[in-house]
């Protein structure tokens, strides 16, 4: 059984990274990382954990997505106009805003799609790994990703507000 210290040492960076990629840099990500370790610690006292990497990623992803949605309910969206077309000086200047727009769009996805999308593209997990940690079929992973990509493409193209209206 992996010791707690080793599990923490192995995965502290990963958990914080998962949270940060969903929430962006800031205190929220650190907060989520601590909540995840607390939950994991309590879980560990009840049962043996066989796949720390998968468990912590899923816990961090779900908690971070919840926090992302909570944040969206309390904070107004930033309305950043995205450039369209080919790259240019303006596009380069606002490139950093793309990440924030993506997070806003991910918060619009249904929970399952958002989780699968985050694990796939933020954490580079394979279809099989995602299926394993979420206890779903591989085909369901593919389906969720397909829908998530399509919706995110649309949201990024027309803007969150446009999609809602």
């Amino acid at each position: 059984m992996m010791s707690w210290d080793k599990a923490v040492a192995d995965h502290a960076t990963i958990v914080l990274r998962v949270a940060q990629r969903i929430l962006g840099m800031g205190p929220d990500a650190e907060d989520i990382a601590q909540e995840v370790f607390l939950e994991a610690f309590q879980l560990r006292q009840k049962e043996e954990v066989h796949n720390w990497g998968g468990l912590l990623r899923v816990m961090a992803t779900r908690r971070a997505l919840n926090r992302l949605r909570d944040r969206r309910r309390t904070e107004p969206l930033s309305h950043v106009e995205l450039p369209s077309g080919d790259s240019g000086p303006y596009e380069n200047a606002v490139a950093g805003e793309l990440a924030e727009r993506l997070r806003e769009a991910v918060a619009e996805l249904p929970d399952g799609q958002a989780t699968v999308f985050s694990l796939r593209y933020f954490e580079n997990l394979s279809y099989e790994q995602i299926a394993e940690v979420l206890h779903i079929e591989v085909i369901a992973v593919g389906s969720a990703l397909y829908k998530a990509r399509a919706k995110l493409q649309m949201l990024l193209k027309i803007g969150i507000g446009g999609a809602k209206s």
Binding site: A12, L16, R17, L98, Y121, F122, S126, E128, R149
Partner: protein, 539 residues
């Protein structure tokens, strides 16, 4: 690999995305993770286990307290009560188990509490007064005990949760990690043992106390000392940090120390204020210079000087004459076999072996996944296949993208542009069951530092992968699943690269013959990508 979900191959995955979505994902994953935040998270997580079991409950309470402070729970009050059910407790989100004694954390909105029925009214109507007095005494006792507990718990709470973090002085440090490129540390990939044997995460800006041991499996790590000296450690290497230098047990490093030492340059005067690298067989004293040190598994120490001077001393018995002052472009060596410092010879060591600059700029290695962008039946110009044992070149032929892959193979899908390759285009079948074939590809390292190159990939084979070789030398095999033709196996290669052309080979054994047929299956599918530290000016 400890974490089966470790970073794999972002490039093929990102190929699934397009346009702004791809750019946005790239933006997100490019954001660095704060090393200081990682350390804070890890430290607090460790403290969960360092205290007794009710720490977790206290942290939950702290979490609630934080929320209350933040305003989200401003109308709620937390009270601790004994188990109200009098029997089995069912801890939920609002209930937490404190060790063996079940205590429930009940969160009640203030207005609900105010609307509770009056206890006084109840006892005045139906109960004897003695019950009431007893209950009152018990109540006072519980409140006193509760206040005592809360006081002590909150003191610890503050320590655990960091509500009021107490300033802890930083230990005396020898230096800090200033850069990391594709670092993989031994034991668990991210941490190393500190001076007292405690594992902690190493990241950029991590402080390194004297005595910290770093076992670097691969990648490169730059350490900046308080004196201003720099060391670039190249994996695989084992290095222990000292106040101004360190002990290199095995591996390679490049040291840079600009403080010029005045005087005769002899070792005795230099060691007082110089940067010193010790090895099992030698002491390399920097006399204001840039130099490389390499220790092989046999303990042989080699030092090469890029500029300035170093003093190389043998620690081997009998090596009285073993002290040399090396100048630019000179190399010296201490051979354990004869106990003497080898003769000085000009550029006897390839300077490219030592990384002199480490930064953020890595350039991709132009490698070729199998069948990438090719239609079924087409020859793959980047991959060759030959039966093992055949004279090289005699039967070497271009691999081809299999037109009709075996139904049992992992299907080509949108997740990766790679395709199955084999010996024949029309069929995955070959007439040599149980035979070994070598698939070979080549790539060039022109503008990168070979010691920093990393190749990553995923592989599918039918039937069995027997060996992976880089430039003719075996490299660690990927862990193979039960059915390697259906499940990708991730692998990475971080050593054995050379400047110029490199050759990567996979030995694949064909399957047993199919029932009633002399034929067997042969196939390979590899996703490949890699990067290397860009060579700096003058390197």
């Amino acid at each position: 690999m400890n974490d089966p979900f470790g970073p794999s191959t972002p490039a093929p995955i990102l190929a699934e995305l397009a346009g702004q979505l791809r750019d946005a994902v790239l933006e997100v994953i490019a954001e660095p993770v704060s090393a200081a935040a990682v350390l804070r998270v890890a430290e607090r997580a460790r403290q969960l286990a360092s205290s007794d079991s009710d720490v977790a409950a206290e942290s939950a309470l702290a979490d609630r307290r934080n929320r209350t402070t933040a305003g989200g729970w401003s109308n709620e009050k937390a009270v601790l009560t004994s188990n109200p059910s009098g029997g089995q407790a069912f801890p939920s989100d609002d209930q937490t188990v404190f060790g063996k004694d079940v205590v429930c954390l009940v969160v009640e909105p203030a207005d609900v509490r105010a609307a509770s029925p009056s206890l006084f009214g109840y006892f005045s109507q139906v109960g004897p007064i003695s019950y009431f007095v007893s209950a009152l005494i018990m109540g006072f006792a519980l409140v006193a005990a509760w206040q005592y507990q809360i006081t002590t718990r909150l003191t610890r709470l503050e320590m655990v949760s960091g509500i009021q973090p107490k300033a802890t002085p930083l230990p005396t440090t020898a230096g800090r990690v200033s850069a990391m490129v594709d670092c993989r540390l031994a034991v668990d990939g991210t941490s190393s043992k500190d001076a007292v044997g405690f594992h902690s995460v190493l990241a950029v800006d991590s402080h390194l106390e004297s005595g910290r041991q770093i076992k670097l499996d691969s990648g490169a790590m730059e350490i900046v000392y308080r004196s201003g000296a720099k060391v670039i450690l190249q994996g695989p290497a084992t290095f222990k940090v000292d106040g101004n230098g360190g002990y290199l047990a095995v591996g390679r490093l490049t040291g840079k120390f600009n403080k010029a030492v005045q005087g005769s340059g002899d070792a005795a005067s230099a060691q007082e204020a110089s940067f010193i690298i010790r090895t099992p067989t030698a002491v390399v004293t920097d006399l204001g210079t840039e130099f490389g040190v390499e220790v092989d598994n046999g303990g042989c120490t080699t030092s090469y000087v890029f500029r300035g001077r170093v003093c190389l001393q043998s620690l081997l018995p009998g090596g009285h004459a073993g002290e040399l002052v090396l100048k630019a472009d000179e190399a010296g060596r201490v051979e354990p076999s004869d106990g003497q410092v080898a003769s000085v010879r000009r550029v006897s060591v390839e300077p490219q072996r030592f990384v002199r600059r480490i930064g953020d700029r890595r350039i991709p290695i132009r490698v070729f996944s199998t069948g990438d962008g090719l239609a079924a039946g087409h020859a793959d110009a980047h991959w060759e296949v030959v039966a093992a044992g055949d004279a090289a070149g005699d039967s070497m032929q271009q691999a081809v993208v299999v037109r009709s892959p075996c139904p049992n193979w992992h299907a080509t899908d949108i997740s990766t542009p790679t395709k199955w390759i084999s010996r024949n285009s029309d069929s995955y079948l070959v007439e040599t069951p149980g035979r070994v074939y070598t698939f070979r590809t080549a790539f060039e390292l022109e503008d990168g530092v070979p010691g920093t190159a990393v190749l990553r990939g995923n592989i599918l084979v039918d039937r069995r992968l027997l060996a992976v070789r880089l430039n003719g030398r075996d490299v660690p095999m990927p862990e193979q699943p039960r059915n390697p033709s259906q499940w990708f196996s991730p692998f990475s290669i971080a050593e054995g690269f050379v400047s110029g052309m490199n050759s990567l080979e996979f030995d694949v054994e064909t399957s047993e013959p199919f029932a009633g047929s002399p034929l067997s299956a042969l196939g390979l599918r590899v996703e490949l990508n890699g990067s290397v530290q860009e060579m700096g000016p003058g390197e």
